[in-house]
Symmetry: C2
Amino acid sequence: MEIIRPRTLPGFMELLPAKQAQFEKMLEILRSTYASFGFAPLDTPVIEDAQILLAKGGGETEKQIYRFQKGDSDLALRFDLTVPLAKYVALHYNDLAFPFRRYQISKVYRGERPQRGRFREFYQADIDIIGDGKLDVLNEAEIPAVIYRIFRAFGLTRFQVRVNNRKILTGFYEMLGLAAQSAEIMRTVDKLDKIGAEKVRLLLTEDCGVEPNQAEEILRFISISGANSVVLAALGAYQGKNECFDLGVSELKTVTENLAAFGVPEENFAIDLTIARGLDYYTGTVYETTLLDHPEIGSVCSGGRYDNLASHYIDKPLPGVGISIGLTRLFYVLDEQGLLNPSLCTAPADALVLPMTADPAPAIVLAEQLRGAGLRVQLYAEQKKFKQKLSYADKLGAPFAVLLGEDELAEGLCSVKDMRSGVQKKLAPAEAAAYMRSVLAAEQGALILEQSHGE
Amino acid sequence: MEIIRPRTLPGFMELLPAKQAQFEKMLEILRSTYASFGFAPLDTPVIEDAQILLAKGGGETEKQIYRFQKGDSDLALRFDLTVPLAKYVALHYNDLAFPFRRYQISKVYRGERPQRGRFREFYQADIDIIGDGKLDVLNEAEIPAVIYRIFRAFGLTRFQVRVNNRKILTGFYEMLGLAAQSAEIMRTVDKLDKIGAEKVRLLLTEDCGVEPNQAEEILRFISISGANSVVLAALGAYQGKNECFDLGVSELKTVTENLAAFGVPEENFAIDLTIARGLDYYTGTVYETTLLDHPEIGSVCSGGRYDNLASHYIDKPLPGVGISIGLTRLFYVLDEQGLLNPSLCTAPADALVLPMTADPAPAIVLAEQLRGAGLRVQLYAEQKKFKQKLSYADKLGAPFAVLLGEDELAEGLCSVKDMRSGVQKKLAPAEAAAYMRSVLAAEQGALILEQSHGE
């Protein structure tokens, strides 16, 4: 038979089992944290009607989308989870309870030029809260708490949720008489971290039609920083001149004032007046999240408040607030930088039961007993030499091998071998399960390290 | 703005939140049961090189596949999880430990004519055990145990794993001198349940080139049934004439003899000599699973032993055994038949915290406390009348509403309202959490009912 050389397409992440185990742990943390805040899991099709996915239009999206015909149908693969959400909420509007809170952790598709760290198929992990007509600003205050719980559950402490409010920016540019250019200015200011203040000043005056003194004002404004109270006080000096600005400051106050109640420490939060998030559809609070020791990764969780989720599909105002984590890229970068904790167990089984008797039945019974005690147990069924069996357990990274020979059988015991230390103990099955569980429980640790384990 | 009518493509399942919650419970049971047997989670791309997906060729597959060009690439969406597994194992052969045990629960795509209960996008939940050159028959004996644990975890008792061995059939047809037609005969006999014995006899003699007396022999053979010991004894009468047959009987004995050790009750297992599974690539044990009170659903979990997983991609024999659950169809049918337990909580939150004070901070703190105690808690942030807040909790199906007014606040308590019974209690936060957890724990029940709740 002719052999076709197997390959996986470039830009598609396909992990080996140990790495997949780490990725699954991230998925589990996201699912359980999102669920703990009362977000409902949602699953929408990967394929949608192309007309519907592209209702909003737009250049980059249209170029990158996977679009194809099947029969008479013009189909496309979703390129994010927001457009399918908009369709879902519009389609099922009468069946949903608002505010509608959903999470979705699913793959999306973009036919980008593949390059290191860029993926054509990648997971997004999104939450959104959608209101029917109205949505209280307190929902915007809750989002930093969700982000905080996720990154703490990942094992991190050195991260910061950075927040701004688009109304403050819009109002500020209105005060300067720059309302018409404000979207363009925000996109320019958003680059401050990457290109620096002087480049921003240049772009503002040369490309955005901003006068030098206005550019000066803008740079002074966005340089306001410090503790929440300091920033809020500085913003106070601008108040009373523009309604939109004042509303933005009031919303920002609601968000910051409730942080402590939500259990978010001040060091994990910062007001950052440079953040605008490129997209024009954000209208209130906007979020970015940075790992403090790894600013080069950029924002690992971003989003914001918007006024109209689904205006293309339904004639009702559906305001919302949401965030998204680009999970595949985050995982890729963490792995590249050696930040995934290598000491966590990535084996598919906690224990490998090795039958050493002619009749496998006692080993099968033992495996079932250990499974019943909550362990993940693989019965090793191959007829191999003892050394080969242990070497398999090693290759798998299984923490324990459980040996059942004639001696153990006669005594009603089994031998539990800790594959890392080599220590071997003869125990009754129930004791063996309890022993392994306690060792494994003590080994729980951070999924993500603050510092590379190679350093 | 022009409104585009939102729609979801026909043949694509998109569930409302409550139904999605039920589906997620099935996913959780599958993940944890597969993991408990030491299967590693795997995730492969939805899009693959079309040449690779179609290496095996074949008519129906090629017609149904979603295939399209992007740039120079000839791409296709996977139509099952077996072909991507074959590619994966061949590609990563040197990095895997064999036996390689993986589970994958993912969506696959087939552009079938949509009709009730047929889906173009659907989940498959697969496990496979792949050996390198060899794979012990004990792995085939383990599969019924995995199936048993899954359907028990679903809440069912009235189901049966039905097993046969292709070597027995192959050997039997060799004995009759019908080796050349055996594949065709097996496909015909496989229809016995659907079309009955007389139709099978007709097809055998008219289409398969079988003499009437041979057809008689075949029908007598496949009518062997009863307890395992009875069937094995009846098979004993044919032994000693054909090597392949004898090997098959010996394998079947290994499978049945170890059932008790694996904890599978005899009533959940049956040898069924009519089962062949249409696919020619099965070479040993084959499995089907039926819900005893709902035979019309057909097999809900099927698979078997094969000799060569990846002969199209690698020049190494990779024998394996695997099963697959067509999850989307199973869920659809269970739902249609009213077999999904409606009394299980499908709300996204266990408790809805309703702030009733001007300052929301105390309610936020309370919500965080309850979350810390392991509950899924939604903070209701909207400014609505009390009645509307409770009606939202009702619509969501939340089991509890937790009220925090000035009175409760002054006393350091909160009011927990059981939304089903209407009973309301004033409790300290820690007691409230314990109370709700105990009520919820007592309400755990079967996910799938044996009898329709409409009956």
